[in-house]
């Protein structure tokens, strides 16, 4: 078996530097690699391009990197709920590329799976299609989208084993599996790190071959963005 465990977050992030492209799993604040984001925000690196469905909130998630102005460009599908983000974007400090959420997921999957490009109907006829090849298939227009090309992917999983096999929980799964193996180096933080053989081979969401480094996260705050409840009646 090929072990992927690293001792700590420092070792997990070895090799990161300014001007790199990073992918971050997560939807809103759910399933984000909190430990990696916290550590990266403590490093003296900047001019980062970040691929992430959302941009966190002012004081959590990618908001931490935005506050420290480490991000040069964001590639996301939805960036509401972050005032500092909006300020940097409108002032021109931050370059923002907004793309459809399904296209974002598939550009990750294409990178993981070795497809250079794919045709999707999403965004045809909109700003998103500008400069992209458009093509008719069976009477419906599609645009050509390309695979992402990232240096590091930062992933949050629920359980993982020492060979890098991963299981995600609930909707914290989201983009995380699609980003595994999509960057040159995939770094995974898990809530529970187990010995090889602990996980049912039939129930693994992402096989370890897509993972280069795995470690047990020190602390997961798992902040809730919109706490909605119903009364007990």
């Amino acid at each position: 078996m090929i072990k992927k465990t690293v001792a700590n977050i420092q070792e997990a992030c070895e090799g990161v530097s300014s001007s790199m492209t990073f992918m971050f799993g997560g939807f809103g604040l759910s399933g984000i690699p909190e430990n990696a984001i916290g550590y990266l925000s403590s490093l003296d690196i900047s001019d980062l391009t970040c691929i992430s469905n959302n941009a966190g909130v002012d004081d959590f998630g990618l908001g931490l990197l935005l506050q420290r102005k480490q991000i040069k460009k964001m590639i996301s599908s939805y960036v509401g709920e972050n005032a500092e983000f909006e300020r940097q974007m409108l002032s021109g400090e931050l370059d923002v590329e907004l793309i459809p959420q399904g296209t974002l997921a598939e550009r990750c999957r294409a990178a993981q799976a070795g497809f250079p490009a794919f045709y999707t109907p999403a965004g045809y006829g909109t700003e998103v299609a500008i400069g992209k090849e458009a093509r008719d298939f069976d009477g419906k227009m599609h645009i050509l989208e390309s695979a992402f090309n990232a240096d590091f992917g930062f992933i949050k999983a629920w359980k993982g084993d020492e060979v890098g096999n991963l299981i995600f929980k609930g909707t914290a799964r989201n983009f995380n599996p699609n980003m595994c193996g999509a960057a040159k180096i995939t770094v995974v933080e898990v809530e529970e790190l187990l010995p090889a053989g602990s996980l049912d081979p039939n129930q693994i969401h992402i096989p370890g071959i897509f993972v280069q480094r795995i470690f047990q996260g020190e602390k997961f705050e798992k902040r809730i963005e919109q706490r909605t409840t119903r009364p007990r009646s």
Binding site: L104, A122, N174, F175, R223, R227, P231
Partner: protein, 220 residues
């Protein structure tokens, strides 16, 4: 404000949800639709962040940060639910496995274009999953107020804002009316209770086809 409130719009749209439909609900008014779907039919709600078979909000104290909907709200799941990754979620959407999509809009044009993701220079939140949804869904209903806060019509001959998708909206339900998008532009189908055809005509900037008889909505 005349006509329906948000819950009224949701209530009317709920009547469009048929037995055995898989439904994707957008943020805002569409989310409310789930509250009004008849309980004698079988429906499953999909949320593009990776869940099928969504249930109601959790009881206080039972919120789980790992179980949310696309509006980032804490939710629960029902028997038969499943979780999946974003790529598979959009396979459901792009592959036309979802039967009905209900979403909000800033503008709809008479040919079915929709704008709901960006006000240049002012508000740029992003399209989220909306562009994928409108590009692929065969059955799209827009839920929105008929006019904006300045009183201007949101049903236009042509969208003034950057569009989210072309010629995709089939039906619009507003506080004033139910309208189909047809080759004649908007066709008035129903009036909200107490709203006149004239009021609807005055609030609609796009081409509006008005049949001889326009019934009032039945909400119950």
């Amino acid at each position: 404000m005349i006509g329906l409130d948000k819950n009224g719009i949701a209530k009317r749209i709920a009547k469009e949800v048929k037995d055995r439909y898989y439904v994707n609900l957008g943020i805002g008014i569409p989310t409310l639709v789930a509250n009004y779907v008849r309980n004698d039919i079988s429906v499953e709600f999909q949320s593009e962040n990776g869940v099928l078979g969504m249930g109601p909000f959790p009881f206080e104290g039972e919120e789980d940060a790992d179980i949310i909907n696309a509006g980032k709200q804490t939710i629960t799941t029902l028997d038969g639910a499943s979780f999946f990754d974003s790529a598979l979620s959009f396979s459901m959407i792009r592959g036309k496995h979802v039967d009905l999509t209900i979403l909000g809009a800033m503008e709809v044009s008479q040919n079915g274009d929709i704008a709901n993701w960006k006000i240049p220079g002012k508000m740029v939140k992003g399209m989220g999953g909306a562009m994928d949804l409108v590009a692929s869904a065969e059955n799209i209903i827009v839920a929105m107020m008929h006019t904006n806060r300045a009183g201007e019509s949101k049903l236009l001959s042509k969208c003034s804002l950057p569009i989210t998708g072309v010629q995709c909206v089939k039906k619009v339900v507003t506080n004033l009316a139910v309208l189909d998008v047809t080759q004649n532009g908007f066709t008035l189908v129903e009036r909200a209770p107490g709203v006149s055809v004239d009021q609807i005509r005055q609030s609609t900037a796009g081409e509006l086809h008005i049949p001889a008889h326009v019934p009032e909505m039945q909400l119950d």
